[in-house]
Amino acid sequence: METSQITETINMVSEEHLDIRTVTMGISLLDTVAGTPQETAKNIYHKITTYAKNLVAVAQQIEREFGIPITNKRISVTPIALIAGKATPDDMLYYAHALDDAAKAVGVDFIGGYSALVQKGFANGDLALIKSMPRALTETDLVMSSVNIGSSKAGINLDAVKLMGETIKAITDKSDTANAKLVVFANAVEDNPFMAGAFHGVTEADVVINVGVSGPGVVKRALEKVKGEPIQIVAETVKKTAFKITRVGQMVGALAAERLGVEFGIVDLSLAPTPARGDSVAEVLEEIGLEMVGTHGTTAALMLLNDAVKKGGVMASQRVGGLSGAFIPVSEDAGMIDAVEAGILSLAKLEAMTSVCSVGLDMIAVPGDTEATTISAMIADEAAIGVQNNKTTAVRILPTNGTKVGDMVDYGGLLGTAPVMPVVPKSSADFINRGGHIPAPIHSFKN
């Protein structure tokens, strides 16, 4: 082995923030359903603490042996609305607390799957779960929640879009930061290891290990070496770097699954930033040649980046899944925050960017007096982009009471700090209040 290859790997970790962002254990809860919510909650706690008992210890040992940090250890479970089909909103709290208690007992960072899939309509459990969210997300610490309100196959459930706008406002009235634990999806994926949107889909195996890799810093450093070269060289460089990063994810995931005695699921090869300088997707885009992220050309650069990451990663892993691409959360990315504060990166540009990257409007703070219907309309716009273009989109919009444009809101840890951004001051209420269902696009009829 060549010394240069050894040095390259060591530098990626120590200087360029290469990490395994998460090892996420997906656990099916379909076999935990019992006669009462209390009994089911007990079964849920038991199953999670049995299978995930060694998750943290195994991940920590792998960190030691390979010298690669595994930033988060997480659990995702079957969407709780499916497990709690008969529950009332009050019953739902048993489930939320069972998840929270189990996550704390095994020492993971987050547990995802307090979720409902309502793209075509609501069942009893779905409505109960959504109604319980303001309490569930403020009374628990580690529980993460998601709701899928649209899909390319089913169209967009506008009633659900309206309800989610109201729910986000209701959560805001109880807590300044709990909204960061809720994401609203279109075309949600069933094997995503990233939070807040991780859940364990019903078509998944009983227990699996999914891995999310990261490393915007590594990509940026690689691109520094090809300054001024034609753009296809940029794409090639990103591909090669994504390949290397993903290979580490593949190795770690396979090993973790083997040691835990469960199936290995997928590698999600996303470029996920953290608030640390040098670990920013915005800085990668700027390295491609933009003075600041948000200027003209940002969407094109992001399209290239997102696509090249996928191409490089696909060959490096047995099975690729999740969201796989570039994430552009505002609060978690130092470069994005700078651009918003400088007035260069707007909500409109962010929306355009979401049409070519793997997620959506993520971790964006807006003033506390933003109307529920305005938030719903933002969700509808994002869902439209996802549904029409056969891609996942997600919305994590964070209204905070008592804030105005330009204030900073601190979400803590990996969630970072978000500058409050202006929203368009015209109403979308009559549109949202129509309710009903936006039909699926014509190209969904492929049967």
Partner: protein, 90 residues
């Protein structure tokens, strides 16, 4: 055969190779390959070692090497070989 790579980076001084080799010998570790250079006063060494006799005490050896690194004021990493192969070879 399980192998690991030990890398040492830091300001050159007498006793670095001796210290690392002694610690490895105390753990009955065989050194398979060594590559070492000094670039503008910075000592860089990578060693390929055989872990066959060790697996039980991986963490202990790593702690000892980290301790030695602190004592010598150099950075010592010990990582299993597979991570380098995964990244650099198809």
């Amino acid at each position: 055969m399980a192998k690991a790579v030990v890398t040492v980076i830091g300001k050159d001084k007498p006793g670095i190779i001796a210290g690392v080799s002694n610690t490895l010998a105390e753990h009955h570790i065989n050194i398979l390959d060594v590559s070492q250079t000094i670039m503008s006063d910075i000592f860089t060494m990578s060693m390929l070692i055989n872990l066959e006799k060790l697996d039980e005490e991986y963490n202990k050896l790593q702690d000892d090497l980290n301790g030695l690194g602190k004592q010598l004021n150099v950075e010592i990493h010990m990582q299993r070989e597979e991570i380098f192969n995964a990244m650099s070879r198809v």
